[in-house]
Amino acid sequence: MTDLADLSIADAGRGLRAGEFTAQDLLEATWRRAAVTEAHLHAYLVLDRDGARRAAVRADEELAAGTDRGPLHGIPLALKDNLSTRGIETTCASQILAGYTPPYDATAVGRLRDAGAVIVGKTNLDEFAMGSSTENSAYGPTRNPWDTDRVPGGSSGGSAAVVAAGSAFAALGSDTGGSIRQPAALTGLVGVKPTYGLVSRYGLVAFASSLDQIGPLARSVPDAVDVLTAIAGWDRHDATSYPGDVPDMGRSLDAGVQGVRIGVVSELMGEGIAPEVLSATVATVERLAAAGAEIVDVSMPSTEYALSAYYLIAPAECSSNLARFDGVRYGLRVDGGTVEEMMARTRAEGFGPEVIRRILLGTYALSAGYYDAFYGQAQKVRTLVRRDFAAAYEQVDVLVSPTSPTTAFRIGERSDDPIAMYYSDVCTIPSNLAGDPAISVPVALDGAGLPIGFQVMAPQLGEEMMFRVAAEVERSAGFSFRAPLATSEVTEP
């Protein structure tokens, strides 16, 4: 019999409503799985056992009484630990927020609760979401369920690891430069960065406000649609949230790609992309063509500069956003003789090396005399990226590329080389700069048995077409999501 922890959200929902099992059974299966896998992965920072049990009991009571909150009713989900949770410690994997317990829920978290979801716990991340490997956590790295010597990607690596291992049915992450899609690619999952503004950022601890978006990591395209649908929509607490109606994003999952125009981004299909990643991408494009899509090669010259621009814009915004961690209102305080001394000591003690590196970089890029040369010029490159996308979308409906230039790398392999680590995001960053939606779908395993992700990008609010193409990618790839570690059978660590 299939372990309940491995069911899709849709199958779990059917079983719940047919009375085959309860939400409490799903939660117990999730906990059993976590009890086995966490010793290997270190993907959860907090398991909220009491809160999860209460939510599961309530989900069962409501279903019995005829109250059905929809697809996520009774489904165990996990949250990246930069999402504020009322009464549950939220550290962003930083010492500076050790012990911080938010007095409110992030809007996306509240919407999951309203949709009947059972929040299992909070997952590990690169400190303040700055990184591509989940090695920059003050609480230790998370490992990849496909190969525990390797990273799960980042920064939403904890969310990726728990979903791939079956210790949550799906999870929320945040994506500033690829932090949902790259870990999804490295762990064989579907990961979505929605259109900027589609999901409220209220309660997401800010990294780079003009780039950050919350989105799902899931084991299938339909599961991802269900989670994103639950959290999307305008929010009075986020002035940058999209004020219009949310499109029906899952409407065309079965429509196929006959006649759909798909652009392959030439600049992301050559140098710097691992050969096996490249060949899996080409094979996926060929399957889309066989399914009736029209394939066009598209050149986007600005992608060559997007990474450099991102590593000025994101640190600049981070240096401003993280000014709030000053030892006054929450988190760590290290005493000092003056206020300034207290703040400077608190920040030196509380932040890890990558966060300090980015704050310094951003402070420099924003400082007098350098602002126009660095930050101002990076903002202009951002315009060039948007123009390239706009020109491309006059010819095609979606753009495709690899998600990550490589499969999962070894723990420690890139930790002393920031430039190599930053290159992990080369394919994902352009969509963040443009504010466009993008998704990673697993398509193959490389020779070492590690998953390869395929990226589909779409114009703003183009989620319906993005998911339509992603669903065809998923069907035609026939990828099995089961990571070797996704088992409830106890083995020696």
Binding site: G197, S210, A309, G337, T363, Y364, F374
Partner: protein, 106 residues
Amino acid sequence: MARRWGSIPPMPVEIDIAKVAALARIALSDEELAAYGAQLGVILEHAERVQALPTDDVEPTSHPLPLVNAFRPDEVRPSLDRDDVLAQAPDAVDGYFRVPQILDGP
């Protein structure tokens, strides 16, 4: 792995790292300053490539959405409970956050 970020060769970047750390309010030792200064120099070599792009006719993008102002009705609504918020502070007294003295005494 190739690390080509652009076709323009990198240029060395000089940074007054102590000044930057002071602006950022991070107390770093001389050794730490030297290490971060060297790393930033390498990163900025790559970042400098954006400077060579001709952008005279290009408007900067600060934000992906064309939103200008988002107005809301001016009405009183409940906010977070003050005690809940102050409970998270390292030091609070009489309903206030407490910090080291910032003004000279009387």
